[in-house]
Symmetry: C2
Subunit: 329 residues, 2 copies
């Protein structure tokens, strides 16, 4: 009874978006597209010597994700829905370090993080350290829409998942052979060679609204309930119609320390600089080589995919017919 | 053995501050103090009808905390040490919602959060959801100095505390009668009347370095492992010698959504505006009335204590002889 009463109270607060809180899209000078989408599947040390079949698998997965989101946006779907749906697809794909393909932590288990943000209202939701939620991005969206909180963690987030009735899995669902081999090899390697997998999506829809989301299985061999930038609004994810939508991937601690996603948006919003200039400055002057990258889109549909690593699994599409998938520079 | 090897690896990374990563203090035009300090003990609905004895208790506690930090800074102590030590004192004081006086969560337990940041290096550390750590701010500092991570959560943070040998307490240590009565009354009240207790400290030392820290027992009656802004670097805490040091208190979700601490620092750093102007804009134009407040200090020792609530327990002192403690406007 007590929980039920709290939920009702929470629902009435969590959904209380007033007209005043709607963020008008920024004036889109020179815009020539009506929707735009970018996705990433992680950045880091991606060997160019990768087997061609393996690179082809990544390209196919990225194309499928891009196609799903493009179709939704082209038909007038909301940016927020495209972000959630495309991330769900990538979470279900064992290639990426998110959902099904999540890496192993030090105890050979899995702790997943995700966040999502609606640029129209600045509403946002995130979860960290969930272990049985099939699609963490979906739970993050429920935190956004069904509570007055932003971030839920661990056992508490699992209890919230119980009440929301989201799809659950046995933790073994996340235990893929490839990631187990990575755990075994990482436990003898230096931290410097860690792969920074994570998936993220940013979108501009035909209504002029922006959204961003990010999901990850974290760091291979991570200890101590380490939380990276993925569930941290302002670090790994940020979206504001008044500037842009950003999703990050890389050395999470650096993205938190420098507040990367928020900083890019604030430069665009407050300094009148282009998204490209803001992204380049933050990725190449604030961060260090090897730290990672971001994908971003502004209210005019300009897409930026900027990184300072060897590669970043990525894709971009817009209403002008752009449809690109790339791995290396 | 595995943990030991990981720790050694971590130590070598976590402490790897190079000369290049030292943040030079910003030019302090018009500065006329050699050190400065501000503290807060939470903002929110603080009834002016409070019993005089009770208000006097708060004033005495704030004065003691201010005196401790002032003494350290006056003798040439580091800002980072003053921030940690003063927050420890406030955590040990049952008056404040941090450490000993932490509020009860929905399950009548306690989950504590804290973060600390060194403006000289941008190194930072934070913990969320710890339950047996007497001084969460001390554990946050160890995350900063002894790991290559920024944020540790829940059971993982407790395991890290085991290895660091920090002071532990039985969870009942945090169960004070006053907070139990608050839990009982809050469970029948609306969320709008929640008190936003939290403690925070910002400091400039004689070496020109800035630091900030924040510690909290969270929201009374909180559910689901909710994480507020206190352990989120960029939201509740930020410090950068190139701009300022900020600690926040209030409705944590709003402080995350707007990246309050980082936004204030970026405005000062990138737009050449004064700390006072930046703080006023963020507290009164970005946030809504009732959301909370911040304390902040810049590289010139200018102190700002700005809030949009009825009151904020606060104190400020500097090398010119300033020594003020206030509760209401």
């Amino acid at each position: 009874m007590r929980i039920a009463a709290w939920l009702i109270l929470t629902l009435s607060f969590g959904c209380g978006v007033t007209d005043e809180s709607i963020r008008e899209p920024a004036v889109a000078e020179g815009a020539d597209v009506s929707w735009a989408l970018a996705i990433h599947g992680g950045a880091g040390v991606i060997p160019r010597s990768m087997e061609p079949e393996r690179a082809e698998s990544y390209r196919l997965s990225l194309e499928n994700a891009l196609r799903l989101g493009s179709g939704m946006l082209d038909e007038g779907g909301r940016a927020l829905d495209a972000v959630e749906r495309v991330i769900r697809l990538m979470e279900d794909d064992p290639l990426f370090n998110a959902g099904r393909g999540a890496v192993f932590n030090h105890e050979a288990g899995h702790e997943l993080d995700a966040s999502i943000m609606d640029g129209r209202t600045l509403e946002c939701g995130a979860v960290t350290g969930v272990t049985t939620v099939k699609n963490p991005i979906g739970l993050a969206r429920r935190v956004m829409e069904r509570t007055d909180h932003v971030l839920l963690s661990g056992a508490g987030a699992e209890r919230f998942a119980d009440e929301m009735g989201v799809d659950r899995v046995d933790p073994s669902y996340f235990s893929t052979e490839r990631r187990r081999r990575q755990l075994e090899s990482k436990q003898t390697e230096s931290a410097a060679t860690r792969e920074h997998g994570t998936v993220g999506v940013v979108a501009l829809d035909r209504h002029g609204d922006l959204a961003a989301g990010t999901s990850t299985g974290g760091l291979t061999d991570k200890l101590y309930g380490r939380v990276g930038d993925t569930p941290i609004v302002g670090a790994g994810t940020f979206a504001d119609n008044a500037s842009c939508a950003v999703s990050a991937t890389g050395r999470g601690e650096e993205f938190i320390r420098h507040g990367v996603a928020l900083t890019v948006c604030r430069i665009v919003q407050r300094e009148g600089r282009t998204l490209e200039a803001a992204a380049r400055e933050v990725i190449h002057e604030v961060l260090e080589p090897g730290d990672g990258g971001i994908i971003a889109v502004d209210a005019g549909g300009r897409l930026v995919l900027e990184f300072n690593t060897e590669g970043m699994y990525r894709g971009s599409a817009d209403s002008s017919g752009r449809f690109d998938v790339e791995i290396w520079r």
